[in-house]
């Protein structure tokens, strides 16, 4: 039975738990995963307001050991969820930011053939290294997460904007995501795997998708799906702003009022949560009085298109 197919609910993500302001979590910037006593790093608290449905989806993905596929409007907090989950569970986070040139294998490892050839040609001092191909292998984010599980530690893996990559990208990872194991072609006996009897070590994989391209069905089948909705009520928005350190109640109310009205206007690109947080944070930092917010100061943080800005000013100044 594959590791993926075992249910394990020993790890439970609780979105409402009270968390300390900083935590000591394993650092992930090292190229190699230390077998024991890994370097630690102070990580600060990631404020995130997860709905009950989102929390259930996260726990379902953890329990079944499947990737969690998050969709939703841009700037609604898909990527930040991975950081919040990692912080809440005290796990290191591996990040794979996908580009149009990303290859499936890059997530597992890269093999620096040029450097090895170069070393072989030059000879001399680096001669000894050439005989050891392990020197030229660097593990990728998924590779490190699997290697870390091999050392008995769990990680969170964020695969951001998977639709940016080529069509083959998700398909190339199907087997590795299924078995949570991989081999390195250039190293004959190198094999990394999550121990088969330890479903509690499976990496927690969070995939975000902006729906720019349709993903292959075989990959989608293996995922848990959740659509992150924009907060539906002013109370939720208020809680989110409060969580992100917008202390003035008057400012919050005005800012939310503007956002709710803006989202009713027919805009080419409706402002999301990240824009709202940027805008409100700046307004608070420069001390704009709450009464002036209706005049839409520093609108560039909220609306990114000239046509939208004109429409918003026109609509909000004549209610």
């Amino acid at each position: 039975m594959q590791t993926r197919h075992r249910v394990d609910t020993s790890t439970w993500f609780d979105a409402t738990a009270r968390l300390p302001a900083t935590r000591l979590i394993e650092a992930t910037d090292a190229d190699h995963v230390a077998a024991a006593n890994p370097p630690m790093r102070q990580v600060s608290y990631e404020p995130y307001l997860a709905t009950a449905e989102l929390q259930a989806a996260v726990n379902l993905a953890i329990g079944l050991g499947r990737p969690l596929l998050l969709q939703g409007d841009p700037g609604v907090g898909k990527t930040r969820l991975a950081y919040a989950v990692a912080y809440a569970l005290g796990l290191p986070i591996e990040q794979a930011y996908i580009k149009s040139t990303s290859k499936g294998r890059d997530l597992l490892y890269t093999y620096d053939a040029i450097r090895r050839l170069h070393d072989a040609q030059l000879g001399g001092r680096r001669r000894g290294a050439v005989d050891d191909p392990r020197q030229y292998v660097r593990l990728g984010p998924l590779g490190r997460a699997i290697a870390r599980a091999g050392h008995g530690r769990r990680s969170v893996l964020l695969i951001d904007e998977i639709d940016k990559a080529d069509l083959d990208f998700p398909n190339d990872l199907l087997r590795e995501l299924d078995e949570l194991a991989f081999e390195i072609d250039e190293l004959p006996h190198a094999r990394y795997a999550v121990p088969a009897d330890r479903p509690d070590l499976r990496p927690i994989i969070i995939v975000t998708n902006n729906e720019e391209k349709a993903l292959p069905g075989a990959f989608l089948r293996r995922c848990i799906f959740h659509y992150v909705e924009f907060p539906s009520s002013a109370e939720q928005l208020d809680m989110i702003l409060q969580l992100h350190g917008i202390g003035e109640a008057e400012l919050r109310r005005e800012v939310i009022d503007v956002l709710v009205r803006l989202r009713e206007v027919d805009l080419a690109r409706r402002p999301g949560l990240s824009e709202l947080l940027d805008w409100a944070g700046f307004l608070q930092a420069v001390g704009v009085p709450a009464g002036e917010i209706g005049g839409l100061p520093y609108l560039g943080a909220l609306l990114k298109q000239r046509g939208d800005q004109g429409r918003a000013v026109e609509r909000l100044s004549h209610p």
């Binding site: 609910t9 329990g63 170069h118 391209k213 959740h226």
Partner: protein, 397 residues
């Protein structure tokens, strides 16, 4: 893995409904539902179970609505996880589905008999001065969750994506960024001196697609379907460039209308005797938008086409009305010749089934270029033609 108990009937019902709506669910998906339920997910309430199925089975917002609607259509058992508490056998008396939304008509509130005296104790209703809208607009009723409001087209997005992904022309272009290990080793082995590695450009899909869409008139019923098709091609195919041009019936009239007089048999629908003399269409216009408001010269669109571009025409070719129009056939032939002259591989997708083409303009067009019905198989064959697979037609242009 053996299954000790059969799945409850509502699961069969649910899966059947979802499969009919195009969700490819199988045994594995039912097994994962069972696993998740066994682990304690989705047991709190019926909504919780529905959300569990959404998380496991749906992969987009549209599919989420389909799963939720299917849930409202099947009879899902009410979980009784709390054994100590007895479920009430009868619904509470306030569970009147119409109560509270103002639609209930009480027969006693109807018009009073004429002879009856009005009650004197109550003050007479006074007219109130109102401004603006006196009443709320009438409500259309409450939302019924069992209604599927997601459109279902004859071809699902997945099917379209699968067919059009095959339109590929991978070519190494752009800056050299990929290491060619074999060439590097080969050069080192030949020369024996240290040298820079050999880099080659990355492989890119250079396939280009020109979609010409017939709009309005007899194509009106297919507007939404064709829009769905084009959106799916755009999101699925990793093509270098997709251009969509809209027109009505034909992009323009051919200059060679006089040729029609030279046809030997006025009652024969075929253009064959004068086919070689029809000149490629040089005038006419396409539109950039589906509402046909932004004109764009047809000749300019053809000029932008590079050799090897795949051109696909989506039109009923007059088959919907069932008539035959020699003038339209001539104009269409001129357009096809212009596309051919620009170096396009041309194919035609007809939203009507092949049985309806006979005896219409579409039947004649199909004699000259490969025409396929807008079905899954038809799309596959069309993509084959666009990839350069030879297709035999009765009388090629």
């Amino acid at each position: 893995m053996t299954v000790p108990h059969p799945a409850p009937p509502f699961v069969y019902d649910l899966v059947t409904r979802l499969r009919r709506r195009g969700l490819p669910l199988g045994i594995d998906d039912c097994a994962s539902l069972r696993q998740a339920l066994a682990a304690g997910f989705g047991l709190a309430s019926t909504e919780d179970l529905a959300e569990l199925c959404v998380a496991l089975w749906a992969k987009s917002v549209g599919e989420r609505e389909i799963v939720r609607a299917a849930f409202a259509q099947v009879e899902v058992p009410v979980w009784q996880t709390d054994v100590a508490e007895e479920a009430s056998p009868t619904p509470p008396p306030t569970a009147d589905p119409l109560a509270g939304d103002g639609l209930r008509m009480d027969p006693q509130d109807g018009p009073q008999p004429a002879g009856e005296q009005p009650a004197t104790g109550e003050p007479a209703p006074a007219a109130q001065h109102v401004t603006g809208l006196a009443m709320q607009p009438p409500s259309t009723g409450s939302f019924d969750p069992s209604l599927v409001i997601v459109p279902q087209y004859p071809l699902s997005e997945r099917e379209i994506a699968q067919a059009w992904r095959r339109l590929r022309r991978p070519v190494r272009t752009g800056p050299p960024v990929e290491l060619d290990v074999v060439a590097t080793l080969d050069r080192y082995a030949r020369t024996g001196v240290a040298s820079a590695p050999v880099l080659v450009p990355a492989r890119r899909n250079t396939a280009r697609l020109l979609v010409l869409v017939d709009r309005q008139g007899s194509m009106t019923p297919f507007h939404n379907f064709v829009d769905h098709l084009i959106a799916a091609i755009r999101s699925a195919g990793r093509l270098d460039l997709i251009t969509v041009g809209y027109f009505r019936n034909v992009p323009g009239r051919s200059r060679d209308q006089a040729l029609l007089a030279d046809l030997p048999d006025p009652f024969s629908p075929a253009l064959d005797p004068v086919l070689t003399r029809v000149a490629p269409l040089a005038t006419g216009r396409l539109y950039r938008d589906p509402d046909l408001t932004e004109p764009h010269p047809f000749a300019a669109a053809v000029e932008q086409v590079s050799a090897g571009t795949a051109a696909v025409i989506i039109s009923d070719g007059g088959a919907a009305r069932g008539g035959f129009d020699t003038g339209r056939l001539l104009d269409t032939t001129a357009m096809l010749k212009a596309l051919r002259a620009a170096g396009c591989a041309v194919a035609w997708l007809n939203p009507l089934p092949a049985a309806r083409w006979a005896g219409t303009t579409a039947g004649q067009i199909a004699r000259h270029i490969p025409m396929q019905p807008l079905t899954r198989e038809g799309m596959y064959r069309t993509v084959d033609v666009l990839r350069g697979h030879p297709e035999r037609t009765e009388r090629p242009l």
